[in-house]
Symmetry: C2
Subunit: 309 residues, 2 copies
């Protein structure tokens, strides 16, 4: 069994490669829900969705969000009704949110909803939200605290980051299966996702970090920082905002207490020794995922990085 801690697009790409040579049934994905947001009365789980859509072959990989060939007629009409429409929701995407909202309203936990969604799309991977409880990533800016999506999408990550706050983290319990899937895994992979708002959120859930330290599984992580900047997203701004250096090494330090190996890009070769100094096995490879081959190669490198240990 391979258990993966996952954010959004970067993780989805990595997982696409992984399931090309590992049986889907062997893969458990623990997804970030800190980005979840309610808009227009609909419960949206962007990270879980992009993983589901990507693994189902439905994602718009060119745009990097949403569903391939989706239309935006509902959103345009909502705009006509005076709604803010900074969060792009395609018509088919909205069906996912309608479906989820309805089930949540009927009392099903998010993990059940997620299971149903991936089953409807014939996915055999186990996909677990990190928690079924309310959890909201908020960014402290000079203009006050705002929802992560508002920071990222509405305000295009333009605000200075003064801090990151995980609302609900003190009370959120791991969703059923989360801790077990870490403890019982053969290998755990921390996907190349934002170390603060994608992986950091998962690590903040009670018992997760402890399970990662305790598990007999080897734990590999892939650096989402390549050449001093994130492949995608605002990780640099968030890391800098928290007073951290933006480098593969800085990410390795965030994970060093529970990972065994760390995969970095060729361009960061110079950081290899420094990271090894943290007591980690370091693998250097080409970590930019464009083609499916790239994704497979990176996933293989991650697994191989711990197999030799």
């Amino acid at each position: 069994m391979i258990t993966c801690l996952a954010g959004g697009v970067g993780a989805a790409r990595f997982l696409q490669g992984l399931v090309k040579f590992v049986s889907e049934e062997e893969v458990t994905i623990i997804g970030n829900t800190g980005d979840d947001i309610e808009l227009y009365g609909l419960n949206i789980s962007p990270d879980l969705d992009i993983i589901i859509y990507t693994l189902a072959g439905l994602a718009d990989e060119e745009k990097g969000w949403g569903l391939k060939g989706d239309t935006f007629n509902c959103l345009n009409m909502l705009k006509l009704y005076g709604h803010e429409t900074w969060f792009n929701l395609g018509d088919r995407d909205i069906a996912t949110h309608i479906y989820r909202t309805q089930l949540l309203k009927r009392g099903f936990p998010l993990s059940d909803v997620t299971k149903r969604l991936r089953e409807k799309l014939s996915l055999k991977e186990e996909i677990l939200p990190m928690t079924n409880d309310r959890f909201e990533t908020r960014i402290r800016t000079p203009n006050g605290s705002i929802h992560f999506q508002e920071y990222l999408v509405k305000r295009q990550a333009q605000d200075d980051v003064l801090g990151v706050h995980f609302e609900g983290a003190d009370k959120a319990k791991p969703a059923p299966g989360v801790i077990d899937s870490i403890l019982k895994a053969r290998t755990v992979v921390v996907c190349p996702s934002n170390p603060i708002v994608s992986i950091g959120t998962i690590l903040s859930i009670r018992g997760v970090r402890e399970a990662l330290k305790e598990t007999q599984a080897n734990v590999a992580a892939i650096s989402p920082i390549v050449g001093g900047s994130p492949v995608k997203g605002p990780a640099d701004k968030l890391m800098r905002g928290l007073g951290k250096e933006v480098s593969a090494f800085a990410v390795a330090r965030l994970y060093q207490d529970f990972i065994d190996s760390f995969v970095i890009d060729q361009i960061d070769q110079a950081e290899k020794e420094k990271i090894e100094g943290l007591g980690l096995h370091v693998v250097v490879t080409d970590s930019i995922m464009k083609s499916l081959d790239d994704k497979i190669r990176l996933a293989k490198a991650a697994l191989q990085s711990v197999e030799s240990l």
Copy 2:
């Protein structure tokens, strides 16, 4: 001021004609909400919507429902998730229901929501739901009692009608403005709509029928039955199910206690005397509305039918 009792498509067409020669601000429309249904967690008001869409020039007049040029991507995705999709909801149409649902959930009454919707679409007509309270038209069939939409759309009006039941009618209060708009009108028009499930519902609301009898306004009605069958919809099956003859005369009898004039189609000329026998002024005209000219002519005939009184 002209106050119109309205069902769905037939009424919408009539109103389209009316506002071509009467100022929109002078028109108040009391809409049927007995067809309202919650699907996928969304509150849908089909009759109010088709009137709003039609008056805003957005309705798909060829299909007779929904919005012109709408797509059905959300619904198709909901189908993939295993939802029943017998009720056709276009992507732009869904925006209306998302907007309405959200406002209702926030505690706004349906009349406020309706006002906002028509204002967003720049409509100057006053559009009032008959009630803000729960009201559901149910059809008794040999297989049990079913929601009117289930009878009409899902089961295509195939079931024998044993009876019609207005759930909530005993408690439903008229929405603000409904009674006043009848009492203070110069003219009241009962649009060519289903006399049982469109107009009958409105008449069942406490105080409406009394206001129609009491008002100083002249009241005109247009027969929705032409040549012994409804222009659109299942009025014949419902009337027969309730033991009524299917004719213009039978409709006139349903309204005779509160209308002054009755507009029938040329094809029903033979019924004129019989209807006059009910004490009504009868106007015979071509009542089939295809072109805009047809709609204007019928609306003029309806108004003229009471102006001479």
